[in-house]
Symmetry: C2
DNA sequence: CAAAACCGGTGCAAAAATTGCACCGCTAGC
DNA sequence: GCTAGCGGTGCAATTTTTGCACCGGTTTTG
């Protein structure tokens, strides 16, 4: 769009770190770009770039402008989405930052179900940890975040939250599979794999083990990939841990899942959220509503 | 600003109702303006005007665009205000829609006090009833509203609220001035003036009179001007009604004010608010904080 | 019922804004 | 002290925008 063109050039300069490099990226002369930037600053009333000998860098005013640019663009996208919606077109795009756990079962099912009604809507799904997810929201890189136990929560507006007990994964022939509910001490006595430290599952397990004076987790394998861990238990007689929303509980994938007793380990909170105060495009807003309903089904 | 120019032209067309008239207003040729509008619609992807034989009119998509334009402009003003603030300039502009009652004492004092610290900040103060005030907020015509008992409350985000008992105004030689607190029936027995029906004071008085089976108000004069009524009691031996925040309680202006008993008439709520979800410019946000503190002093 | 008054839209040339090119002065790094 | 890379500027070329004249259509007016 015409009226956002200055903003595109400004963003290009920010990315490139210098006007000349940005000019090359944008297929324009450095002098032309230089004048655009200068004219913008003049009209805006304040400089937004520091001039360094090797290039330019945003000053504090520029940081505000950058945020404004991002907000502006997202706002305009929402406007178009609203207009498209009222002309009955029902198209749009939804961008999601989510925990890894939701990638195999939950989100594919939800998205497929949504697209059955709204085939014009496209999706963007990226695995992000809870820090990155919030950052993605505040830079307008994602519309929606779906993560366990997010941290800051300053820019994160919680739309829906469900508690999830931790489940233990094992092969069907594991004797523990006979019990309906497992105790933490029984699990730690067996060989187990565990997610690395930044994941909510691991945090909860570590805290629980520490609290009850049991010995710490001694995973035979640590990984950032729940996919890997889910498959590992099929090969060696080991346990893995995961939230049920990331699992298939039918047993048809070869593994059995049993909940850890809530007496031992508190549940983790799965939070659905968006950037605080932001009005989402129509498609995203509707998908949030669907997710929110789907999450209620997981309510303890 | 450059990137808002299309928006200015669009607004001009909306105001004028036809491209030709708008072109005249904007000192431009109709053909040029026509092409701007057409180009915008083409780039935007949707028509925003209905072409009528006598001009043009916004279609529903256009309504959304209009709202976007207003939000955009306000957002840009806030950005400039934030940047100005961080360069230490402390300038800006605050636009207030408020009840008449706040014009004589409360707001002048508050604004003067604020401008002592921030002389670069300018103000816009307009008396609006509670319907108009909310409309002003949602069209971004005012930043802040300060009204009694606003109605819709859908777009109105309450920042602070204080209850105000109704006070009775009289000349110092009125025998009622001897009492610390007045009963409604005593007041209605005397000649009195009253605000017209749309005002909160009148609503409360009418409701109270009706409820207690007393006879209705029989004002010897009805007016929309509290200024008029305040002065009237100085000339004839009559009573007037007003919230204390609109009064000088020192007696130095010639009238005496006594509260109506809360047993007879419930207090009215003075609400300080802004457009829901909007982030105000720095100057406005700070002034809201000051108003909020000042209002606490009136807490019952 | 016809003329006049407006309306949005378009072709074309004039005017204005933007861009590209050549070049300046400056600083960091070698 | 030399070079490479940077932001900035004067001037001409180029692209974009505008103004003017005019078209076809509809409503108002006499």
């Amino acid at each position: 769009m015409r009226h956002l063109r200055d903003f595109e050039f400004i963003e290009a300069v920010i990315r490139a770190g210098s006007i000349r490099k940005a000019a090359e990226d944008m297929n324009i002369t450095a002098s032309a770009l230089n004048r655009r930037i200068n004219r913008f600053e003049e009209e805006f009333g304040y400089e937004i770039f520091e001039r360094l000998p090797r290039g330019v860098r945003l000053n504090p005013a520029g940081e505000l402008v950058l945020h404004h640019i991002r907000a502006q663009r997202s706002d305009f996208a929402r406007l178009q989405s609203q207009v498209a919606d009222l002309s009955g077109v029902r198209r749009g795009h939804v961008s999601i930052a989510c925990s890894q756990a939701l990638l195999p079962y939950f989100l594919p099912e939800q998205i497929a179900s949504y697209r059955k009604d709204h085939p014009g809507v496209t999706f963007n799904v990226n695995a992000r940890d809870r820090f990155e997810a919030e950052r993605e929201l505040s830079t307008f890189s994602s519309d929606i975040a779906l993560v366990f136990e997010p941290h800051h929560l300053v820019d994160f507006e919680v739309v829906m939250s469900v508690d999830q007990p931790i489940y233990v994964l094992m092969r069907a022939d594991n004797p523990l599979a006979q019990q309906k509910e497992l105790r933490l001490r029984d699990c730690l006595a067996q060989p187990h794999v565990a997610p690395s430290a930044q994941y909510a599952v691991r945090l909860l397990l570590d805290a629980a083990a520490k609290k009850t004076n049991m010995e710490r987790l001694r995973p035979i394998a640590e990984s950032e990939s729940f996919d890997f861990m889910r498959h590992y238990v099929l090969h060696e007689h080991a346990l893995a841990f995961q939230f049920p929303i990331g699992l298939s509980l039918s047993g048809e994938h070869g593994y059995i899942a049993r909940p850890l007793s809530l007496r031992d380990v508190p549940p983790g909170s799965l939070l659905l959220g968006q950037l605080r105060g932001r009005t989402l495009p129509v498609a995203s807003a509707r998908f949030v509503m669907q997710l929110s309903q789907a999450m209620q089904a997981y309510h303890l």
